[in-house]
Symmetry: D2
Subunit: 281 residues, 4 copies
Amino acid sequence: MKVRLEENAYGKNAVNLSKIIRHPGYHEFRQITVNVSLQGDFESAHTEGDNTKILPTDTQKNTVYALAKEHFTSAIEDFALHLAGHFITTQPQVSQATIDITEHVYSRMLFDGTEHPHAYIGGGSEKRTALIVQNAAGTTVNAGIKDLLILKTTDSGFEHYIKDRYTTLKETADRILATQCVASWNYNGLVTGYTQQFNDIRNTLLKTFAYHKSLSVQQTLFAMGQAVLEQYPSVKDISLKMPNKHHIPFNLEPFGMNNQNEIFIATDEPYGYITGTITRE
Amino acid sequence: MKVRLEENAYGKNAVNLSKIIRHPGYHEFRQITVNVSLQGDFESAHTEGDNTKILPTDTQKNTVYALAKEHFTSAIEDFALHLAGHFITTQPQVSQATIDITEHVYSRMLFDGTEHPHAYIGGGSEKRTALIVQNAAGTTVNAGIKDLLILKTTDSGFEHYIKDRYTTLKETADRILATQCVASWNYNGLVTGYTQQFNDIRNTLLKTFAYHKSLSVQQTLFAMGQAVLEQYPSVKDISLKMPNKHHIPFNLEPFGMNNQNEIFIATDEPYGYITGTITRE
Amino acid sequence: MKVRLEENAYGKNAVNLSKIIRHPGYHEFRQITVNVSLQGDFESAHTEGDNTKILPTDTQKNTVYALAKEHFTSAIEDFALHLAGHFITTQPQVSQATIDITEHVYSRMLFDGTEHPHAYIGGGSEKRTALIVQNAAGTTVNAGIKDLLILKTTDSGFEHYIKDRYTTLKETADRILATQCVASWNYNGLVTGYTQQFNDIRNTLLKTFAYHKSLSVQQTLFAMGQAVLEQYPSVKDISLKMPNKHHIPFNLEPFGMNNQNEIFIATDEPYGYITGTITRE
Amino acid sequence: MKVRLEENAYGKNAVNLSKIIRHPGYHEFRQITVNVSLQGDFESAHTEGDNTKILPTDTQKNTVYALAKEHFTSAIEDFALHLAGHFITTQPQVSQATIDITEHVYSRMLFDGTEHPHAYIGGGSEKRTALIVQNAAGTTVNAGIKDLLILKTTDSGFEHYIKDRYTTLKETADRILATQCVASWNYNGLVTGYTQQFNDIRNTLLKTFAYHKSLSVQQTLFAMGQAVLEQYPSVKDISLKMPNKHHIPFNLEPFGMNNQNEIFIATDEPYGYITGTITRE
């Protein structure tokens, strides 16, 4: 019986790299996690154990550190583009290179309104992401934000849904809406100023979330995507993943008390999970 | 400017359910995590906040618990098939239902060679998985195993790979090979005896890993997939994800000692990540 | 043979509670995790299965939610004091109540310099903590900060340490210093304005970390504690835990490049772990 | 104002080490995580930045790998004792050395009843632990087991507890009892055959858990500790930590169904947490 290799890829994941970029008067501190993934003509490695077309993942890791010295100087999109180009142009057997970078955000400490030149606070769940795919058909640039924990205490409800035999949920016109949002968007070709674009789009996402009168997570998700598409012609489409971080009113009636939408159980599991992609007509 | 909703889905994730199935003489204890995801005609929820076609994720959760009483009696594939069918047949606006179940394995305690009737040990990283997708085109049954931590201390090497400017890795004919393997396979239609099939396929995967003379992770991955396809005609294709859990020889030379392939640093990050799908010709 | 019960305790952990406190013009959103632990006369529960002196952990949980309505209105220290007092005064068999609260920090979103009235960002690793122990001897108030990820790119070195047979570390006068700091301090009795004190002490910790010319983690740790004790007479002693989040210069020499203290591997494991308590003479 | 350094310690944590021990006919694979912590005369490092009495944590790490070659050949208690002795005897400024080792369990794969000579399965949550403290007063040997997930589906109830205003829990004579148990015991001095002792004590813990008619977690905890003390004169005292992994009957009544103690929600948070130490009279 004959079998054959279909889709396959290999690479190095979780390459954790920090860089100090020294500017006059202050240091810029950057911390990223890089995943490299290569596709191409690797069949003989699988079927015959022939490694002559395999660039070891250890070498991929070394390459990330080495190229960071000259080429990681601005946005993660720029560095990811350089890395993808490096693997595609130096390795003829590679037909597609995927570079996925997550940036861990550090902010300079603020004392009396002034930023300290070289001391930072990090640790936020929110991360910036870039995903570059380069192959013969071209290069796609995907940018995004991950694990952005946002919450609103009102202007959110959920009513008029289907009721069936298994329904116990009560309708509410006023609930907490919270999500650990993932948003990622494809650009129409290359862009100048990825960081500015990122900051602007992030602000639009937050503002739309904050001011939207939400009738459902779905509606808020769509509004957030729509706002980005309407304001940024550079964006081709946007995908959002919005797990519902439920805050359930705690029942105080057994204790003769009235919970006026003020005391909640915050739960992690189970969670509603709403995803969608918004694109141009 | 016009925008439109593309791909979208919603559902309840991480529904953690335990069941006691009482047999004469002993209890069977089962613990699963269920994810439900629905696709269909939900555009008005996104664009107008119209929830009349939305079956709340809370109701989905209730449905999982309620249907488990009658219908979670054997393999997770069977229960997932029932759940998918329930949502498709009772919700006309749903065009596709995806049920993803992870089973946490518990074994009855063994004392003097005899299984205790109702006491168990759990906690293994290894989990059994089932993924059912049902839509107008039919139903696919995907089964698998997740986070299976396997390791061999010899019969594994990595040599004759590409060397370039950034190569520092040394070739070796004898190394530790370890991976936290994910394997999942599609069946050709429905199968009777999912648990027997699962156990047999799991054994074939382990045996192939153990006895293979590995020249690379890629080669071992392919051999594992090939063995399954060759032995189980019910399997249409199989995908494997094999992160390389590196065990790097610790350099003892600075201390005047010789590390004869015996002392290793076990690292989690960065890690090589090798994936592939094997199918029939 | 006789055995006896020594130290023992029980309680409910991980009670996740959110509260909306409605102020004119804006909402205050608070999220906390509460651990309750009780010690006392519980021997008969252990030795005889007599539960008549056991207040179930489920009831402890309910009590936390119920009392939050009236009594969680300001600092977590105040709420923890109320909870401890509740258990001590209503349960005569309880000799000691320990309440441990972790607060997850949420900030109101900022648009054009103005805080939104009811939309928030959360997700920071940094958390505020309170630990109250109440027994016949009195009540101790411990406050703190947890998982505060701080980093400086210079003004840190490590030299002149012991060298032995197993030394390979190179001395450096200029390295990255990073830690995910835990700091907690005991107050001399009760304090008015726990939140103001917390904010001030936090600022002192950050400032000392930022401006200290560090010769070792130990020296920085001591300086941070010393600064707090010198500036806040209300503080009796302070303990710091400073895991060293190593950023190791990546060796670029094999590639003919010179790493001028700019490219680093960020590692999580293994890590140096430095702890100390500073007190008054 | 004068401040002084009180308790302090430093060391290297999370030193992940693997070892292959080659026996005739098969390989033994061992994987451990080592924490080293030193106390002693380190005041000048804190107050003056004088590192001349500091053995760097990097050197501690190297020492663990180097000494593993000759001295990690049997139980983790033996290796930990050797490491503690090394630091105490070679570093006069060190007054106390604490070595904490966690062993990750790997089992040889079993095919047709025969163990494969060099292929293993790992991944269990259950881990074996050793904690050695050596100082001028002597050496204590603490052994244990961590994250042992055990569960019984009957022979467990919880009744006759205190009811107050905040009680909603229903009494039950038949519930699931599950815990991710931590057990650790001090030996009376040194022991020969730590692994045999460990295996025997582990078996006693499991057996007592399985056969005990439990009226509360407290009672089961005490019974488990008592059984160990009664059967193993080498054990001085034993501590158990038993988080209650609740399995709560799901209420099917709203759906016109009757949950006959068969369908449960498995929850991680909040959880009851019961701890106790049992010692000899």
